[in-house]
Amino acid sequence: MSDPLLTVEDLAVTFPDPDGSDTRAVDGVSLSVEAGEIHGLVGESGSGKSVTARTVLRLLDDADVSASRLAYRGEDLLAKSEREMRAVRGDEIGMVFQDALSALNPVMTVGEQIAEVVRHHGDVDESTSLLSELRRKYVTGTSKSTASWRRAVELLETVGIPDPEQRASEYPHQLSGGQRQRVMIAQALAGDPSLIIADEPTTALDVTVEAGILTELRELCADFNVAILLITHDLGVVAQTCDHVTVMYSGSVMEHGPTDDIFEAPAHPYTEGLLRSIPEGAKRGDELATIPGSAPDPRDRPAGCPFRDRCPEATEACTDSLPEHALSAEHHTYCHHRPHEDGGRDDVRTSPQPER
């Protein structure tokens, strides 16, 4: 098997705090994204999903990052200089952020925000020097006859924005929430990346708009052969969209595997809890359950399994560091009590490979 597109192994991210305890936001996360797949990264708020995503693009300057491997197409991202990272950002890996209203620049037309990515990473012959960028921004405006602008309009059309020609000259506040998120997606696609990291792309939207955006993402993934690392706290979204899923809790991975396997046979008490808390996951007649308690403070996380204080099955053993159990080649869990000793769930499943 060839290298996965993105490999993260044993990633730890700490925010140093000079006069307090450091925040260990990510504490040994591993995941891998295959070319062309949609990989879900789920976990409740504060579990370190966004930090993981930003670390992949090396956007966090104030964090200490360590990993036994952080590689894109086999290339070590941690070894790259800032200049080399610029050739990865936007070009190989596009990023879609949660709140498009704040993530888009309020004083730039959406067309220019897309066009500049085309200029920097695409196949157009337009100067990207600081001076010509500033001239475009403050003096001449973006010329509508350039290849990059035409490409931006095309991309707006691709992501399903009506009247793209007109829209391209508008500012973010003139668009609807759903359209803004589509602009973010167009912007992420503009450099023709192989991977898009989408950090809760639909959380700020209402349900009908959300469904449209998710469909869009799925189709783009197929049409452009881009892989997507889809960050969400909504297992319903994962069920609809993802091929594989990695479940995070308080900085660590609890379980990962093919989406179908995880939904049919969750192997970690935390995943089970999460599944019971969504309508699709709860068995008919069950009340929608929430997991009692709250996640530990990342500045002061106890050793061993971070979920043990809330886990119905916790024992003494849970204070030891997390073990890894393979339930199948692809489905792994990190729990001291799984697979069950009674053998109820430890039969190794042979799961079908995802199609893409």
Partner: protein, 319 residues
């Protein structure tokens, strides 16, 4: 569209403000104790001469009539003549305004040219020596009044760089170079405190912008750091600065008046103070109204500049 309505509204507002200022000036000048006619003719003048002078000046009419005449004259651009010299107020003010506006505008230009880069560097080097240096100098600038900076400049720069005159003013008509050498020192004196305030504002505004999501987005798109900073950040950082700069303009013109004295410039401040002393009330009235017209006009300009840099106002909608 929203923009036209906005501009119309602002222009009308400005006219109302100017009208109000004119009325206040009218009242204020007439509530100053003392009789201009007596002042002109001297203490020993006889009653008839004074009465004649009062009639001549229009001071014998009822106040409402004086007010109506005054407004009618103003509306036609007629600001009257000096009681003393008989020169038209408009040309007196125009002559005195040239040095004042030169010093003010050069001062603002220096302030903006210094403050924006200093503020940006300060923010991008937060808590490094560049930041300390910039905020330190800015603090000095803010804490020294303009006239004091003027005196210091005369004593230091003026005595070492002999080609920079420390006294008087040369009109632009006499050539750009003499104009500039006469203007630069007073302009620095006026501009430095202003630069200090603007530097601190640009710095804090830029610091805020650096933490904004769209800056991270720009970086995540693989843009070079400087492009992110200057293309994506600068305009956003200047939005609040532009608003405050407009208010500061007014304060700065106050500083010019004091600096003129220090540098012996026959500017607007001189004219105003001398006219007040002599109770040359047509000149006082005219100057105050003309200066307020300049103020209102500059504020209007700043507001329009703001709509230009902020598309949310230019294109309506938004939050």
């Amino acid at each position: 569209m929203g923009l036209e309505r906005y501009v119309t509204k602002r222009v009308l507002q400005s006219l109302v403000v100017i009208y109000a200022v004119a009325s206040i000036v009218f009242v204020a000048v007439r509530s100053v104790p003392g009789d201009p006619a007596r002042l002109i003719l001297g203490g020993s003048a006889d009653v008839d001469a004074i009465r004649a002078m009062r009639a001549n000046l229009g001071l014998d009419e009822p106040i409402p009539v004086q007010y109506a005449k005054w407004m009618a004259d103003l509306a036609q651009g007629n600001f009257g003549q000096s009681i003393y010299s008989g020169d038209p107020v408009l040309s007196m003010v125009a002559n005195a305004a040239e040095p004042t506006l030169s010093i003010g505008l050069v001062g603002i230009t220096i302030a903006v040219l210094v403050a924006i880069p200093a503020g940006v560097v300060s923010a991008t080097h937060y808590n490094e020596w560049e930041d300390y240096a910039a905020t330190g100098v800015a603090f000095l600038g803010i804490s020294m009044p303009s006239f004091w900076i003027g005196i210091v400049l005369i004593l230091t720069v003026g005595s070492t760089l002999s080609f920079l005159p420390t006294y008087g003013y040369a009109s632009l008509k006499a050539g750009v170079i003499p104009w500039f050498t006469h203007t630069i020192l007073p302009a620095l004196a006026v501009g430095l405190p202003y630069a200090g305030i603007l530097t601190r504002m640009t710095r804090s505004s830029m610091l805020e912008v650096l933490g904004e999501d769209y800056m991270q987005t720009a970086r995540a798109k693989g843009l070079p750091a400087r492009t992110v900073l200057l293309k994506h950040g600068l305009q956003n950082a200047l939005l609040p600065v532009v608003t405050v700069a407009g208010i500061l303009l007014a304060l700065m013109l106050g500083g010019v008046v004091a600096v003129e004295m220090v540098f012996g410039v026959q500017g607007f401040g001189r004219l105003l103070i001398r006219s007040i002393e002599r109770q040359d009330f047509p000149v006082v009235q005219g100057s105050v109204i003309l200066i307020s017209i300049v103020f209102v006009f500059m504020n209007l300009l700043v507001d329009l500049l703001y709509t230009f840099v902020n598309p949310k106002i230019r294109y309506g909608g938004g939050e």
